[in-house]
């Protein structure tokens, strides 16, 4: 059964330097508060895994917490570039990192294989692209039809962290709205943390609600507003203006560093 604790205690107990860590949430429910707590606790040399790095990984890469990035789309959705992501790849600032990139279909299938405790997932894709030479994908023949398919290796992060709307006091979690790959990420990981907008006495079923039982989760921590500037459907709204603001601010290394110090690194943890 998940232990319900504070965000700072959960992060301290869960994540070590050098871990592979997936903070998932596809545009919706991005666990910003938990990512920021990782930075405040000074975690380093992380292998950061996320389909869409988004602003959160732009921030985490920019302060130098990553040794490797695994991803499928490194853009600021609807706005343009992620400037810290570009700077680390183009200019190795603040230091060089390794990258491994896939397509969305590849990443989603890698998580599904990880959640299924399978060594790989079989799919159609990648064929004819230059991705084949630069990532981990291999041809495989269907033993029944002879069709040529590809296999991608399972993703099994040391730690997965997601954000959801609600948990009960036993750590059972409910999220609704765009579910992304969060359930897969939690089930694929050795350890996990779910931050939630609120802890309630009893989960009330929501249309399209995804329930993750507390017994497959390591820690649950209350973090109201913990997905901002992303959003938690029904509770907070996506701060589209912040995504546009980030495009301007993050172009400059010094402005970025000063902003991170003032708004993230020198702040208290949410919910603590």
């Amino acid at each position: 059964m998940a232990e319900v604790t504070s965000l700072s205690e959960a992060v301290a107990a869960l994540v070590d330097d050098g871990d592979s860590v997936a903070l998932e949430g596809f545009t919706h429910l991005i666990p910003f508060a938990a990512g920021h707590e990782l930075l405040r606790q000074g975690r380093r040399e992380l292998e950061l895994i996320r389909m869409t790095p988004d602003l959160l990984y732009d921030q985490m890469i920019g302060v130098g917490s990553a040794r490797k990035l695994v991803f499928s789309y490194g853009g600021n959705p609807g706005v343009g570039s992620l400037h810290r992501f570009r700077d680390v790849i183009e200019n190795h600032w603040p230091h060089e990192i390794e990258i491994e990139e896939h397509s969305h279909a590849g990443m989603a299938n890698r998580y599904a294989a990880g959640a299924s405790n399978m060594p790989c997932a079989v799919m159609r894709g990648y064929v004819g692209t230059d991705l084949v030479a630069h990532t981990r994908v291999a041809g495989i023949t269907c033993p029944f039809t002879g069709e040529q398919l590809v296999a991608v290796p399972a993703l099994n992060p040391d730690v997965s962290i997601i954000h959801a709307q609600e948990a009960d006091r036993d750590g059972n979690v409910q999220l609704w709205g765009i579910p992304g790959v969060q359930k897969e990420a939690v089930l694929a990981a050795s350890r996990s943390l779910v931050t939630v907008e609120r802890i309630v006495d009893e989960l009330e079923p929501k249309p399209g609600g995804v329930i993750i039982p507390g017994w497959v989760i390591s820690y649950v921590a209350e973090a109201p507003g913990g997905s901002r500037p992303s959003y938690s459907l029904g509770i907070t709204e996506r701060d589209n203006d912040f995504y546009r603001f980030w495009d301007k601010l993050s172009r400059d290394r010094d402005e970025f560093t000063a902003w991170m110090r003032e708004h993230v690194l020198d702040r208290e943890a949410v919910g603590s």
Binding site: Y73, H102, A105, A112, G125, G128
Partner: protein, 254 residues
Amino acid sequence: MSVEAQSREVTAAETQTVAAARRLRDAQTVFIGVGRPSTAAILARMVHNPDLVLVYESGTIGAKPFHIPLSIGDGELAETADAIVSVTEMFNYWIGAGRIDVAFLGAAQIDRYANLNTTVIGDYAQPKTRLPGAGGAPEIASSCGEVIVIAPHSPRTFVEHLDFRTTVGHGEGNGTRGRCGFTGKGPTAVITDLGTLEPDPDTKELTLVQLHLGVDVDEVQEKTGWRLKVADQIRHTEPPNERELEALRELQSR
């Protein structure tokens, strides 16, 4: 049409968006990213095809946004969707299985066979410009019924050789898609701010078939990084009509 709308000239961007929306007249389902494709698809629902099912990569199927969303995962898409599915399900059950009729894609570079680059400009290991990467594009292009590419017409975008092939359009020409085992038709049109290109039925090489108002062949050739194939019978894009223009401008003002 309002006096204000009439008094403004039609922009190239408006013509491009309207031309893209018209391609959705007979589609049941369209897969879209953000930006101009999203605007075009919402416009198509308003003007041409009210039953059109909008499918966004975030897993929202049948979204009916009133506003043009900034991201593919805006709350309004989730709140108005017929169904919301996980990313895994979206790519396997819906895209991979070939359930989507038309997909819109963009690109930083496109070549004469409508192959697309969204990964890097320059060398992969030491890029001049790092672009976002593949996202959903490779599998969208291989499995959706057909692909419409929407791109700005410039020599930087329309290049002789891609720096990186992220997404296969027609590969090396006719036959490539069959050899790769792709189920969809691939790119059937490239709509730019100057005109429309379509793959030649035999060779699959992009051919200029349509010019927007006020554009001539020389200008398109000048902004294309290879010797452009031009159709014998070139057509002119019918300018946006009042209904289209009014709906588009109203949508953008919301």
